[in-house]
């Protein structure tokens, strides 16, 4: 009796300690988020402006520009106390930004158009990726050498808005997405392709394609359909904000964009270092994979023949193509409105002005 009383007392004490540590760790997480590692602490006196950035996915080199800018203290130099929120399968950046959980979000253009068309007051204010990273990858053995060969195959997508480039690719090649082949939901690993449960899988150049290579397959074992080559590319990672917020915080956003561009430029110039910076934030994947990703992402942000000074540039023709494809393949029910109120490059112009 006495002994069990003692152990239970111990258990209660442990429980209380756990709660206490939980609370304190919560606090410390909040305070350490904005740490700049380099000593660039020459901010003007006065408080930093708090800015929260909502990523579309987990912390990884896909977002290396922001992490580099954070690590090098570029945001701090711009008078910004940045907090970077990781995404996840249940995190929808458009909703987070509209609700005010975050000030600025990263999402794909087509997805943003959808929200805008439903009445959400969001505006696109910068285009980070100039190219589509979406691939359809199959094993060379399955003989899918052109989009037409997808007929009768099982094709994976993540859905939730990620399926429209594939729809466009199919239709451009005279295939019906419902009758000519089977579309299935794929998870966030490449296991279904490796296990031959699907014939072709969606893959991002910078992430999943790398996973396939890391799993032991060689480039020669794989066949790739690239959306850019097929002329059905839709724009991906862009920056957007709530229209009400930007009306009051124009200067703050321009400062943010300027610092971010600086971070991106540095990251793209030295992806190895950028991969390391991201790895220091989150060690869930190997350093090698982060570096691989950083190199691939650099190709999307600064494609061949693209002036690095123009990072974040909004190519209205590419945005229009994204809108047209989204309308044609059913994501949008009416044409996207592309105007100063929905897609505006004026902040980018200010941020890049000498």
């Amino acid at each position: 009796m006495k002994k069990s009383k003692f152990t239970s007392l111990l258990a209660v004490i442990i429980l209380i300690l756990l709660v206490a540590t939980g609370c304190s760790s919560g606090n410390s997480a909040a305070t350490t988020t904005g740490t700049g590692t380099s000593g660039a602490d020459k901010t003007t006196s006065g408080k930093l402006d708090k800015v929260t950035l909502q990523l579309k996915w987990l912390p990884q080199s896909q977002f290396m520009g922001y992490y580099v800018a954070q690590a090098k203290g570029y945001y701090k130099d711009a008078g910004i106390d940045i907090e970077i929120l990781p995404g996840g399968s249940d995190i929808i950046p458009e909703q987070q930004v509209y609700n005010g959980v975050a000030n600025i979000g990263v999402t794909w253009d087509s997805s943003l158009m959808k929200y805008q068309s439903k009445g959400w007051g969001l505006v696109q204010v910068g285009q980070i990726f100039q190219k589509s990273a979406m691939l359809l990858v199959s094993k060379a053995s399955s003989g899918i050498n052109s989009p037409k060969d997808l007929k009768g195959k099982k094709v994976g997508s993540w859905f939730g808005g990620n399926e429209y480039e594939i729809y466009a690719l199919l239709e451009a090649n005279g295939l019906n997405k419902d009758t000519d082949l089977k579309m299935v939901q794929q998870d966030y690993t490449m296991n279904q392709l490796l296990k031959d449960e699907i014939d072709a899988t969606s893959a991002m150049t910078y992430n999943e394609y790398g996973l396939l290579l890391e799993s032991g397959l060689k480039e020669s074992d794989l066949h790739v359909l690239n959306m850019n080559d097929a002329g059905v590319a839709m724009l991906e990672d862009c920056l957007f904000v709530n229209s009400d917020w930007i009306a009051k915080n124009e200067d703050l956003y321009v400062r943010f964009l300027k610092a971010s561009i600086k971070g991106w430029a540095e990251a793209c110039a030295n992806p190895e270092a950028a991969g390391k910076v991201v790895f220091d934030v989150d060690q869930s994947v190997s350093l090698a994979h982060q570096v691989y990703m950083a190199k691939e992402v650099a190709k999307l942000v600064v494609p061949k023949d693209f002036d690095p000074a123009k990072i974040g540039y909004m190519d209205m023709a590419a945005i229009q193509q994204t809108a047209d494809l989204a309308l044609k393949y059913g994501l949008l029910s009416k044409p996207a409105v592309i105007s100063e109120n929905t897609f505006t490059s004026k902040y980018w112009t200010k941020a890049t002005a000498k």
Partner: protein, 255 residues
């Protein structure tokens, strides 16, 4: 009779008041939401009506997976409980293992089952099976063993075999516990099926519908799926209650 009517009327009135408050924007005002963030009931209803065949088909996929999984899981759980009863010394360890399995979160279970099974349906059934097994094993074990010692003495006095005791005494005694477990499992099987569909290699089912539509800003459609999922759960729960009422006429809880 009068009290029965009241039992139904009060919650019904409350529900109608809730829906009206929702419809006429009270929630939107209090929570400062726009209709495109939180669709009103009439919009959900019309969206559901327009997409009824698809919603029902998806509902069928999810519910059939949930039911098959629940039946398999419940049978396995009860078998474990029975084995633990027949071999008390060694069998009880099996119960602890099942309980531990129950502590594995569904979100971790789904991807594991995705590896083991190739189709969405198999994966869903496997997840639901594991989720339902524990509740049935634990409750079944209680029912098979929480027995008045005199009843067992009576059985021994007529030299009944262990099997006879199981058939005539332990099993009937466990029925109320089995129904308790079934009521728990109805809710958890549907939720498990829906969660498993978030990860499944399939584009049908309520879980896929909820997730896909909520991501794509089709809030009304997403809510339609939520409504269908909840309704299906409530209906199945009522079915279990009815079966229980007929099967357990002798039990005090039914009076």
């Amino acid at each position: 009779m009068k009290s029965k009517v009241i039992t139904i009327l009060w919650p019904l009135a409350f529900g109608i008041a809730l829906i009206l408050a929702w419809q006429f924007g009270l929630f939107h005002k209090v929570l400062d939401l726009k209709p495109f963030q939180l669709p009103v009931p009439s919009e959900i209803a019309s969206t559901l009506a327009a997409n009824l065949p698809k919603a029902l088909k998806d509902c069928g996929v999810t519910i059939s997976g949930a039911l098959v999984g629940m039946i398999i899981g419940s049978l396995m759980g009860f078998m474990i409980a029975a084995i633990a009863t027949f071999f008390p010394k060694w069998g009880y360890g099996g119960m602890i293992v099942v309980t531990a399995l129950n502590a594995v979160p569904i979100v971790a279970l789904s991807p594991i089952m995705n590896l083991w099974f190739s189709t969405g349906m198999e994966q869903k059934i496997a997840v639901v099976t594991v989720v339902c097994m524990a509740a049935m094993a634990i409750n079944g074990y209680s029912g098979l063993n929480n027995i008045n010692p005199y009843s067992i003495d009576l059985m021994h006095s007529v030299a009944a075999s262990e099997w006879t005791i199981f058939k005539k005494l332990r099993f009937p005694n466990s029925l109320p516990y089995i129904f308790t477990a079934s009521k728990i499992n109805i809710a958890s099987s549907i939720i498990a099926a829906i969660i498993s569909e978030y990860f499944a290699a399939s584009t049908s089912g309520l879980g896929f519908g909820i997730k896909d539509n909520l991501r794509k800003a089709e809030m009304a459609m997403g809510w339609s799926y939520i409504v269908v999922a909840s309704l299906a759960g409530v209906i199945l729960y009522c079915v279990i209650l009815l079966v229980e009422r007929d099967a357990l006429k002798w039990h005090a809880s039914q009076k």
